[in-house]
Symmetry: C2
Subunit: 218 residues, 2 copies
């Protein structure tokens, strides 16, 4: 299968399909029509057919999708069939929240280590993962074949740490710091900017209120 | 200004403009050209002009944008000039990470309370915010004019709590639980699905690797 054929919009939607297919499997559902999936996911059946038909796993007309096959195929596209070694930089609440999320490991993301500058945190163990000093970062990345670093540190420290990560050969930064990182083209940055998410929510609440007020005035 | 004229794509970009304009203000920059802003933000100058010219705050050709005015205008659009009362449901690591993020308050999001079912957490205080039992939820929402609830609880508990929130009159749910919530049309749900973000990262890392391998084979 040519990965290049898959559009960015479809990629953005794939994790959600993956989640629903996983839930269907847990419920023992082996096949599902685009219509049923459409009702569950609240997207149109034609959108689903357009998104998923290219991945195969559907039999003759009327049979529906083979859930297990489709789940596995989407997992392959998303790279979840491979193991990714991950470290967390910043062992505060957010870093510890990620460390405690065991589901990531079920999807091939193995949390190998945590790092912090705070001497009170260094040496502590979160769900079997030791917190180390950041001075050990570069050696640890090489020794443990780490590809992904979650960055849960203040934005003022993030650019310097990002530089060190890139030099140490990291492939991707999962960036929770509220700043845009400058990295080479072959390093992936996936941002999770909580403030921006909260502002979008705020916008939607306010425009809904404004609309209601307008209606009441009419 | 007609809010309806602003497209969804622009809204998605506004929080990032707001962040950059805020940083410029902190640096004492009072005006900036679309060209300079383009270099900083790594988007094209024409994109910036297209996105921002409708908000005003730009003088004659060659003067550039009035940073303070534009910052205030975008803040108004995003509803950050109003106060939003917020509660956090789930006082685990993720809930505490949000409670500890003082920046939200600077943007008008006042964290009024935290809730949990764990008796070990109830009664504790995080940055001045007391953790209460969920049985107090409905009364607290009414008494404190709470509009937004951050949901940082496991997905199995989320639908039931969401129902209670809606009945108690909440306007928006900032949903970190890995499930799609069914709510009435006039309740906003903004999802932060960390697993999905990590899968998109994984996809991007894998397709970059595959491309490199392809090149090496040629």
């Amino acid at each position: 299968m040519e990965q290049k054929e898959i559009s960015k919009a479809v990629i953005t939607r794939l994790p959600r399909y993956y989640r629903y297919l996983g839930e269907l499997l847990e419920d023992g559902v082996e096949r599902i029509s685009s219509g049923e999936l459409s009702t569950r996911m609240k997207v149109t059946a034609s959108q689903i057919r357009q998104d998923l038909n290219k991945f195969g796993g559907f039999g003759q007309q009327g049979y529906g999708y083979n859930v297990r096959y489709l789940y596995a195929e989407i997992g392959k596209i998303l790279g979840i069939d491979r193991q990714h070694n991950l470290i967390i930089i910043g062992a505060g609440n957010l870093g510890q929240a990620i460390a405690n999320y065991a589901n990531f490991e079920r999807r091939g993301f193995m949390i190998k280590g945590m790092f912090d500058v705070n001497p009170r945190l260094i040496g502590l163990v979160v769900r079997g993962i030791e917190i180390r000093g950041v001075e050990e970062l570069e050696k640890f990345i090489v020794d443990n074949d780490v590809q992904i670093a979650a960055l849960t540190i203040p934005k003022t420290k993030a650019p310097e740490i990002a530089d060190r990560l890139v030099k140490a050969g990291i492939k991707a930064i999962w960036n929770f710091a509220h700043i845009d990182l400058a990295v080479p083209d072959d390093v992936v940055v996936e941002n999770v900017h909580l403030s921006e998410s909260l502002m979008r929510l705020s916008y939607r609440v306010c425009s809904m209120q404004d609309e209601k007020e307008k209606k009441n005035l009419l």
